[in-house]
Amino acid sequence: MSSLPAAGNQLPREHYLNATYGLRSWLLTTDHKRIALLYLISVTFFFAIGGTFAGVIRIHLLTPNGYLVTPETYNKLFTMHGVAMIFFFLIPSIPAVLGNFLIPLMIGAKDLAFPKINLLSWYIYLVGGGFVLYSFATGGLDTGWTFYTPLSSVYSNSAVTPAVLGVFINGFSSILTGLNFIVTIHTMRAPGMTWFRLPLFVWAHYATSIIFILGTPVIAITLLLAGLERMLHLGFFNPALGGDPILFQHLFWFYSHPAVYIMILPAMGVISEIIPTFARKPIFGYTFIAGSSIAIAVIGFFVWAHHMFLTGESAYAALTFSLLSYLVAIPSAVKVFNWTSTLYKGSISYDTPMLYALGFIGLFLVGGLTGLFLACLGLDIHLHDTYFVIAHFHYIMVGGAVMGYVGGIHYWWPKITGRLYPEALARVAAVTLFVGFNLTFFPQFILGYLGMPRRYHSYPPEFQVFNVMSTAGASILAIGYLLPMIYLTWSMRYGKVAGRNPWPATGLEWQTDSPPLTENFDVTPEVTWEAYDFVNRPDLGLDVKSAPSLAPAHGDD
């Protein structure tokens, strides 16, 4: 680590962590930073639950006949893995933890626009989570995280009702978070913080919030209708009454496909922060990266029925949705090219967050490109509902979203806690994660092309070799996750004091104490510089002259 400005070895005397004490001061806090930490703890809890289920699944699949758990249990395991990971970890992870913590800091505000609503949304998350845990504990859930009717609404014997209610309730937590972000970004920006000076992390969260606001209510009502069908025997999708179960899928994916962008867009935002900082260089094509976030959020709403090419959906609709799905790939590609170009003629360091960012580019690339296979109508006939799909979306969600999340946690850890983590260990963990992840999920692409269907508790023996590889990878992956949990916890007490701006980086969040004051800034900052500008920032203490002075003109925007 190139620790430049002398950091001192004392944390600031007063900051948000020690401003008040006691359980009440946390549970009734309206400070966005404390709420972010509450979320950090709760999403980590659900990550641990979902991860444990995943571990059991992988061990069970070591042998073709899987003697470890019964079919019922296996079905519950993968369902609960999905529900816990998607609705209670991935969707809230970056927005509710990092977004919550950073958006006000990044735009120079004292807090979000509605701090009480922010706290409320955490409690709603807890209530939703409580319902889902209750469902897990009392019989489990075996419908698949997709809750397809009529399996979920009529046929399943598991505890579907509390789970559906839990996910329904949790939706409102997402909605309120998105609402808070949109209003905050519109009305709370500090003087001089124009839209095109916003960090790309904020742009990404703005785009995410659009999906929160306009997508989440649809899944809320859809699950409510399915729940009513189950609880009160009303009829909406029930084929026995002449209803159409495919309509449920339309409504479900209207949200759940954009929900994938809820997971990946914030991670892209994190990467767009990390890369300029550790390449010490403005991001390449700022407007294109910002615009592509919005484009992904909007076009992402036009592609959902590509999950349904083989449901008997009209061939015309399938053609339309396939074409639109290819369109949504373009803004993602634009981002990758721009990140890569940002490295060109940079001053690149090997700090941990940068390792995660580069790992993200590689894994997201594989995840995104394999999406092109699935969007291809002819190929999807073969690949649909196989392990190819599993591998594809794990590359996006774990390789992309989780790498972004863990990388972001490392990058802002000094800001959150005021302390640094052990750098060498952190680099080892980053590499372990990358290797373990690829070993776990790459074989599943091949399994999928060989035709192994997903959600199988047992499989024909010819598929075993790749399953064993996958399980071996999963154990390495588990170590990759456990390591950061341990050393990050350790560093909260024993880590070196970081100082305000350890990397150093250009964003407003680095212009205040680490950890920040409850009010974030002593005085409301005034922004006079462009985003990611290292040249006109003497306050960063960098050797400005080291950059060849005659860079190409500030050409793009």
């Binding site: 505000a109 004292k110 807090d111 979000l112 626009a113 509605f114 701090p115 909605i175 609402l179 808070n180 949109i182 209003v183 905050t184 519109h186 009305t187 709370m188 500090a190 003087p191 606001i213 306009l214 997508g215 989440t216 209510p217 649809v218 809320a220 009502i221 859809t222 209708l225 009513l228 069908e229 009160l232 025997h233 009303l234 009829g235 909406f236 999708f237 026995a240 009454l241 002449g242 209803g243 159409d244 309509l247 339309h250 409504l251 009010e519 409301t524």
Partner: protein, 225 residues
């Protein structure tokens, strides 16, 4: 952003700590409400989608089932609800021009009209119960109806209860908010400078009205000729 003089010190008056100026606070609150309502549009939208598909599949039975609902009650309710929107709009006006007594009166009128709406809705639900038109409870569309007619009519009535039920739930929440508003307005809390809660709850109330404006023709007025 506001000029220096306009900035107020922390936590004075009605200005919350996270904001710099009253103007900023008002703008945020209003934008927040609108964004919330856009969420609500999509929330009800999911049911409208389900309705659209099921009606287009079973147009005749939807018509038949629709004709069994009490049109008079529905029409009266529509008028009552629109009237309550008028009184709500008048309360916003009263608070903007600082007529505190008038504000309270209009709010109370709105609450009364809202309650009348819910009361009529209750009568309708009771009728449906007596006629065995409640799916999942005692459903039997009409004597001698075929299995299929019964099934498809259940699709209609499920939507009828889900849509009007969630709408009524929104009304109940709105009524609760109105009671709070009345309490506060009796304390004289709302002034032309500070009328945000009246504005916001007004927006919410009008939105609930709009939902009904669509529910009425879709549920009550299919093929009444």
């Amino acid at each position: 952003m506001a000029s220096q003089e306009e900035r107020r010190v922390h936590r004075t008056g009605e200005l919350f700590g996270q904001f710099e100026t009253m103007e900023q606070q008002r703008e945020s609150a209003s934008l927040g409400m609108w964004v919330f309502l856009s969420t609500e549009v999509l929330f009800f939208g999911g049911m409208f989608m389900t309705y659209t598909l099921n009606r287009s599949t079973y147009p005749d039975i939807f018509g038949e089932a629709s004709r069994s609902i009490n049109l008079t009650l529905g029409a009266v309710n529509t008028i009552v609800l629109i009237a309550s929107s008028l009184t709500m709009a008048m309360s916003v006006w009263a608070s903007q021009v600082g007529k505190k007594q008038l504000l309270t009166i209009f709010l109370i009128l709105t609450l009364i009209l809202g309650s009348v709406f819910l009361g009529i809705k209750g009568i309708e639900y009771h009728e449906k119960f007596v006629e065995h038109h409640v799916p999942g409870l005692n459903f039997n569309f009409e004597p001698g109806a075929s299995v299929a007619t019964n099934a498809h009519a259940q699709l209609f009535f499920s939507l009828y209860f889900a849509m009007t039920g969630l709408h009524a739930l929104h009304m109940i929440v709105g009524a609760g908010l109105l009671i709070w508003l009345i309490k506060e307005s009796l304390k004289g809390r709302f002034t032309p400078e500070y009328s945000t809660p009246v504005d916001l709850i007004g927006l919410y109330w009008h939105f609930v009205d709009i939902v009904w404006i669509f529910l009425f023709p879709l549920l009550y007025l299919i093929d009444r000729h």
